[in-house]
Symmetry: C2
Subunit: 148 residues, 2 copies
């Protein structure tokens, strides 16, 4: 009963790091410190991303390490950022993100540390796919890392 307009259709649109939009895909974010489980946060405020990143052959672990480096650098407004292997697809990673706002996500892409990481990651990336933008409502594991 899934709708034809679902993410499977969107997911079919893969892209490469050469695409101009690559910096806007938001596969990088980071935060530090204590997170707080919350039953419900501002439904209209939070901005989520789910997406798959396929590494160039044999480079999944190296790419994951670059993505995870950012978990130790502060990134205002990043509430959740999880990097995961896809056990059924060689070289594939999934990155799921929650930001306190779309603006915080966009702002992160201008930070020197993020731009530097994107430049290190790009040669290891074969493509992006299955990207879904979400509006998170709440749950467990949303770090206390509000912007501003």
């Amino acid at each position: 009963m899934d709708t034809p307009a679902g993410p499977t259709a969107r997911g079919a649109a893969s892209s490469t790091p050469g695409d101009p939009g690559v910096d806007r895909r938001g596969f990088l974010c980071a935060a530090v410190g204590v997170g707080l489980a919350r039953r419900m946060q501002e439904p209209s405020g939070m901005y989520g991303l789910i997406g798959k990143i396929t590494a160039t052959p044999g480079n999944r672990e190296a790419l994951a390490a670059i993505l995870l480096d950012f978990s130790v650098a502060g990134m205002p407004g990043c509430l959740s950022y999880i990097v995961a292997r896809d056990p059924s697809v060689d070289d594939a990673l999934w990155v799921t993100e929650v930001w306190d706002s779309e603006a915080s996500h966009k702002a992160s892409l201008s930070l020197p540390a993020v731009r530097e990481a994107i430049s290190r990651a790009r040669p290891l990336i074969a493509g992006f796919s299955d990207r879904v933008v979400t509006r998170p409502l709440g749950g467990i594991g949303l770090a206390a890392n509000r912007a501003g």
Copy 2:
């Protein structure tokens, strides 16, 4: 450059609440209290789920409320559990989960509170799709809620 065996293919296999496997889809989990951002956790141990749940027409908010109820009940081993709207698909929700092990996830499905919630949610669910099992490596917003 996505692989043909990617989640788009898996996502094409939608199902209904009547499927025997519904209780194993792990769209319910919960935890309480403080989460800790971690750069890297046991890569081999964590178990992740990404999936879309489509509500029966007009029931997305009611279904989301049932799913979010579980964020205030303890659920051993659930490190992240986020419910999000799909802004581009009416009645669609995305649930992303991280557990400290697949065993913790499976154990949660036998808990009375979860079984009761599944029974409340089932009439509001039109179908499941786009399910991906992942092996999380780490990141931000993994709640400190280890099992045992």
